[in-house]
Symmetry: D2
Subunit: 362 residues, 4 copies
């Protein structure tokens, strides 16, 4: 910090007693997205009485700079206040690493590929942390330190929230089957494209490795029991809120997935029965305000909004008397509303809603 | 504005057709408190079909600088970002004016006192606006221009909201009877003390005038039909939200009061039946956080919280393992929670809740 | 902090070896006003080789919340971002304490009055810190903890800076003679009025005590060698800057004063020869911008600006073509410019300059 | 704006009387970078008495949202406060457009290529502005409207400033010869890579067109008298300042370039004699702080800093007594400092300086 005080991040490590996959769970990379800390608290409480088979690492308050970036009553902390770069867009992925690795290790047994490639990913991060003559940005340093912990694990869960939001899950397309183990009604299926986030930074190298190995005839599979790599961004609802009861439910949802992956043994948890909607990332759309004004957010999350029904109504008192003071905003096709902006007061061009289009039931 | 663009405020004036009192209603003096604009919209819509007997002036977006003071996703706008002064603490009240006036007009008929004193209040504001060699602060200029409009009216309603809040009303002690005409369950009764807000700036001069005249034997009364001066701060609920349906209900609540004051004639509105709690301003207390952490706000608004029950629980993950990670915070006496802070993430000393203590049913 | 991390403040205590007065020096109560930390660094370095006769307590980074209140590239930290209250307006002064004390101790020897009254001031702060059922605000807690350290000392120096500023000194009227020992060309003489700042919070109780004792015939004097109480706010120049060479000069300036007060013995320092201007607080005026626009600050600090010469010129490109795009702003009387606003881009009503009017050479 | 008020941008158009190239000049795309407005003012004043041969379009206050994004005393406005995206990274460039165009127009005369390609660029922007079902972000709408004006011109000057900064120029590598007509001592030579800025958005399409045409044997040249396309980002010094005298000098510098391009005829201006340093973009490096603390910026702009000499010294009072409180930070190779951060108070990882490495005299 500016006063020189070091900001540290608490890391909780729980050792498993068998060969099960290992897990990395972090929360609060964005300053206002605090509910994940409560979920980690409830996970730790439940795990006290649980037989644990795979190593579990948990990191609440992952980004101490973002957590403490308050302005007025609110927490900002979505991006570095100096550079504007989103804290969750500064992780590292070097595609060249994979080319080099394959040149050297193609044809080796899967078990060796898995182990050595993991070491290479860790070494690549270590190099970013250590050998930067001109230094690292604040966000890179934070991101790389967390990414180092994440690369040590097989399964990665990054706990976020939306602004005002339903629960939803970012899931790599290849891991769609796992999405059904979370008690989350909305899943966004993401392709193998790196855009800087932690989930991508941890699954894209493996997915790319698999693609390139399969191109040359290997049967290496990241969904195999041996390799078993998955990463998710879990969106827990709305930001700026802590609810310990809801956090308990979300902890159970995560444990259901971990039990499915054989990391925790009991209690026997089954995923909740609920309609799980999915859409591909390219069909997950933001709607930007066509005008400045005061917004009454009408569309409910998770309830299909028919074409022609009002998504929002926008109040423009400056138009009262000599114009239209109340604008109904509709869309041309049915959508499934997932989240909306946190304030009623918007500029032209503010992202009002994010919605599923061309969605389907999983 | 910095770019030189002038920011103007829309003013709607509706003429009444009789000698009824006049009303001034403004909204959005604090940037994030936008719901009042929707209430003014609904009032204007209803008044189109209503017989209006007293003049009504309505000012939405009263503070264009505050309205446009966004930071990150949120609107700030509680105080001037340069000086830190609350936008609703810059109105003007000059007690000396009253001394001078009484020296001159004591013994005159009430009707003359009412008229001339109102002119003096207006002249006093005009003087502040015009004769300042070294200029006025941004907030003084805005406040004085609004106060000029308010002094022209008999009844003043300043529409605000809390952060996350129940509906409540600031009402001068002498006007307690009027509070029952609003559909608002919580009333704070305020004494004759000027602290800079618009309600005080408009009722304190009249209340002080009455007190000083009565000291010298006059029967001048500001609750008399002839003088009839009242001012309220109406807290409509939570900030950063617009809800047009709720605004319609609040417009009816205000119309019920205006009908009681004989300013609008129909429809015949009756105040809702609900338990109306009140407490004196000195018993309206803020509770400050005893520690930094993540707050789960447990106490419900408007529901008495018994002594010893948790107001909030505070999560301190940094204490997990070697301390107490979850703190239950209780109070020693029963309170009635009215509003709470807008973020879960707080420093030591942040105001968590405001509560009624020693409250009673009106 | 929100993440639960405790923010602590470093306190350096140097013991003197005689009965000389004790000193308290703090810096950086406002977040952007960092140069005082460098001055404390240079003081500590010089004091290593200096014979020290009175106790010296030094507190850099006095306000860790303000220090870390960054927004964008800049540090804010002039007021609590949640409440808007200036961090340097939350100290405590209870005039009633003096009445009670005098009722009990009038007529006692000065030495006892000095000792017991100091204990009462400390006890009053302890009580504020300990017995607040509903808690303390963030700023009160910080202020009271610092004030406790300050009340233990006889002489108090609170190191601040202006926005873009010359060096200047706030000095109580009774201590005017001491102002000449600082190498500071501009002194504001302040009366016995408490407005919440640390200097006032530490000298006003003693000054009031002296006044009330003298009213009843005592010769108790706070400028006597026995009592010897003085407090200053030292404005070191502009905010958002650290300059260690300049800090060394300012450290020498402070040591010159401390040597005059017999707290440090060597080296033999003499105040610099420079014209020292003073004005009374009531004549220290802020000039508020008559319009929004882009400001070219023309008047130099410390150089008398004749009536009619431009203080600033304001560019209004929106008026280019159909108005006056460049406005020269002048004053009707000569002034001495002391500081100006930190940005070129201002709203109507922004404080542009602070100037001495009716100033004189000390 | 949130209150519904429309923010408009002033556009000044001056018609030339011959076939000379046309020019587009804008300022203040980033909120705090206001000096360009003063330069446009001085340009307009000088052009009143100048024979003008090419059309000139000037846009001060180009980004009204950024201009009015104040926080505390300072203007932020480097990026959209909601999304974090840099306002100068939202322009549009569609490489596919060029492929399509060449398929159709390869082999046509240069004059037709120039005219039709310009129309295509404009049409591409119009399409972005008009056909977005889900809307545009605030920044896209602003950027596209400005880009439309810029594509109409041959030469584009985007006036910016650094935080605390020397004057410097971003110049496409192919236009290096033109850099010598500006009175600017430091030039960054940028390759044909689009990163979202206005200069790139206007020269990259033409440069790419030239490259692809030359690949298939055309002699089409964007530096020919017929085509003549150049774009520069002109960095005028430090942000948050207006200086009309300096602006006059910068206006002369720009006029010297415009005269060289035959757009204005008199007065006869010659570029100033000064050492002009240049470096390639890849060698223009940012130095990030290795620690949090208070920074004394030591290195002077434009003066080579030898290897091993202090760039900055960082004060860490928290280390006083039990660590090293003052850290000298040096580099391993000589650099030419160009700009530094605007605040003394930094986090670990804050960009402290930007410097030329491997620079040379032009």
């Amino acid at each position: 910090m500016a006063s020189g005080a070091a900001l540290t991040v608490p890391v909780y490590r729980i050792k498993g007693d068998s060969e099960s996959p290992s897990v990395y769970i972090q929360a609060n990379m964005h300053g206002a997205e605090v509910q994940g800390n409560a979920v980690i608290f409830q996970l730790l409480e439940i795990l006290k009485d649980t037989h644990i088979k795979g190593n579990i690492t948990l990191v609440p308050y992952a980004n101490p700079v973002g957590c403490n970036h308050k302005n007025g009553e609110y927490t900002l902390g979505r991006f570095d206040p100096i550079t504007g770069v989103n804290w969750n867009r500064m992780y590292h992925f070097d595609e060249q690493l994979i080319e080099t690795f394959i040149a050297e290790f193609a044809g080796q047994p899967d078990v060796e590929i898995e182990q050595v490639f993991k070491q290479r990913l860790l070494a690549s991060i270590d190099q970013k942390l250590d050998h930067n003559h001109f230094g690292l940005t604040t966000g890179q340093r934070i991101a790389y330190q967390l990414q180092r912990l994440a690369h040590e694990a097989d399964l990665v869960l990054d706990l976020h929230t939306g602004p005002i939001s339903s629960k939803h899950l970012y899931c790599p397309e290849y891991a769609q089957a796992s999405a059904s183990y979370f008690n989350i009604p909305h899943t966004i299926l993401i392709p193998n494209g790196f855009d800087g986030a932690l989930d991508e930074a941890t699954f894209c190298p493996w997915w790319t490795l698999q693609e390139k190995l399969q191109e040359i005839g290997s049967s290496f599979s990241i969904t195999s029991k041996l390799v078993n790599k998955e990463s998710f961004t879990v969106e827990l609802g709305s930001q700026e809120q802590i609810d310990l009861d809801e956090a308990y439910q979300d902890a159970l949802s995560i444990l259901t997935y971990l039990q499915h992956k054989n990391i925790v043994e009991k209690p026997l948890l089954k995923p909740k029965k609920l309609t799980r909607y999915a859409c591909y990332l390219k069909n997950y759309k933001a709607f930007y305000s066509p005008m400045g004004g005061m917004v009454d957010y009408l569309a409910e999350f998770g309830k299909p909004l028919p074409a022609g029904e009002s998504l929002v109504q926008i109040l423009r008192m400056d138009n009262y008397g000599d114009g239209d003071p109340l604008h109904q905003i509709t869309l041309e096709h049915e959508v499934l509303p997932i989240l909306h902006f946190a304030s009623a007061s918007v500029n032209q061009g503010t992202e009002l809603y994010k919605v599923f289009t061309k969605y389907f039931v999983m």
